[in-house]
Subunit: 113 residues, 2 copies
Amino acid sequence: MNVFHYTTVTQKDAGPQTSKTNVRWLITKELGAKNFAMRLFEIQPKGYTPLHSHDWEHEIFILEGEGILVSGEKELRFQAGDVVFIPPNELHQMKNNGSKTCKIICLIPYKEN
Amino acid sequence: MNVFHYTTVTQKDAGPQTSKTNVRWLITKELGAKNFAMRLFEIQPKGYTPLHSHDWEHEIFILEGEGILVSGEKELRFQAGDVVFIPPNELHQMKNNGSKTCKIICLIPYKEN
């Protein structure tokens, strides 16, 4: 059993095509998780993740902040306490259009669907 | 894509061997999630989950509150912002020994390890 505060995990830039976004990989294969990984993203005001799609799903819980989820021509608002499910192969992007940092738990599978 | 506040999901008693504990199944197979499920537990002060083990893991994020994780003779404190990984087959129990409701995100796999 492992118990640790999320801030003890080093945060890294979330990579190309993101802006003002960092990620902490909280629970991974290295910890023994064989089926899915837990990450915590922080998106600063005016920051965003890439508009992209992939063949795996996202299971998301919004911890803090607010913003917009873009999916093609559709835009949906999100706020703290919201749950988001993005199925495989669906175009998606998260934008922080609020005034405080968005903190988001986002889980992805290790196995193929 | 689905976006909804967690409070829009009906909460249910978490079942036998729990005390003062409710659960909301937030993301499930019914929503299209094939690999893992997201649940949100609320454990009221003095409440607890069963001391048990099973052959699947838990990936947990503590949203609010504090308490104790029991694993055999070991006890670990947890608080808001903590991440918990419980590997398969490890004995575990969560107890709320604080003064406010614990809110906990807990994910489990649908597939076998």
